[in-house]
Amino acid sequence: MRYETYLLETRESMMTFEFISKGPKGSVKKRVQYTKFKQGNFYNLAFGDVNKNNDIDDKTVTHNNDTHKVLATVAKTVYTFLEKYPNAAIYVKGSTFARTRLYRMSISNNLEEINEQFEVLGFLEDKDWVVYEKNNDYSAFLIKLKD
């Protein structure tokens, strides 16, 4: 990856990753957690700040001026998770419209690199899951390793 990332900590199962964002707001603990669907080999990606109750708050905006580094670190968990679970597909949807848009921009800006190793589907609202292409208004994403 061409972006700098934070050091990730995880258990052997690699279902949860934690890292520390550092910037003007200080050190902020972040967590990425994968949750398996009841059916199928799909996993939901949840991501956010760790709040005082030690839960993920997926709506907080940290303002730590490190968005690219944080997103690259989350992307690194995707690489690592799929390396551990190569048969899985990861479902990604932002907690807000703005966050989904941020994910969409991030995928679009790095699509060539992503497509080297992954296949990505985007969900067109009330239509279908389709192969991800730039400039479409997807509301959710599915990612898996290329065969």
Partner: protein, 139 residues
């Protein structure tokens, strides 16, 4: 002292494994979002090649799209699926990976169709897959 292993290869550079880290593996986060996601996949389906690849490599599961069941195989292990679809009652041979009870529930949930599913027998293939041969008939 915690036993910490730092991976220094491939994509795991910068990833520390610490099994003393709190275990959230069984915590189901954002169940509403999860249910919505499952519904999006169940209702709209995913491209057949995705279903095929995930099904071949992964656990037993099934995919629905446009009112029919995906991952049709039908080479050796076939069963008859009769399900109410958008255009009527479809009766086709498929191989699927699920349980009879779950399939009955899914058909009822998706199409409001009461069906009985019978497992005829199971086949182990390549040491890992249980191919369940089912017969589905309208009640």
């Amino acid at each position: 002292m915690n036993e910490i292993t730092e991976f220094k290869k491939s994509k795991r550079d910068g990833v520390i494994i610490d099994n003393n880290m709190k275990n959230y593996d069984d915590v189901v986060l954002f169940p509403e979002k999860l249910a919505e996601a499952e519904e999006m996949i169940a209702k709209y389906g995913i491209p057949e090649e995705w279903a095929h690849q995930l099904a071949e490599k992964g656990e037993r599961h099934h995919f629905w799209t446009s009112g029919v069941l995906l991952r049709a195989d039908g080479e050796e292990n076939t069963f008859t699926l009769a399900a109410k679809t958008k255009v009527g009652v479809s009766e086709t041979s498929y191989t699927i990976y699920t349980t009879a009870e779950l399939l009955s529930q899914l058909i009822k949930a998706h199409w409001g169709q009461e069906v009985k599913v019978h497992i005829q027998h199971t086949v182990k293939k390549e040491g890992q897959w249980l191919y369940e041969l089912l017969e589905v008939r309208d009640v």
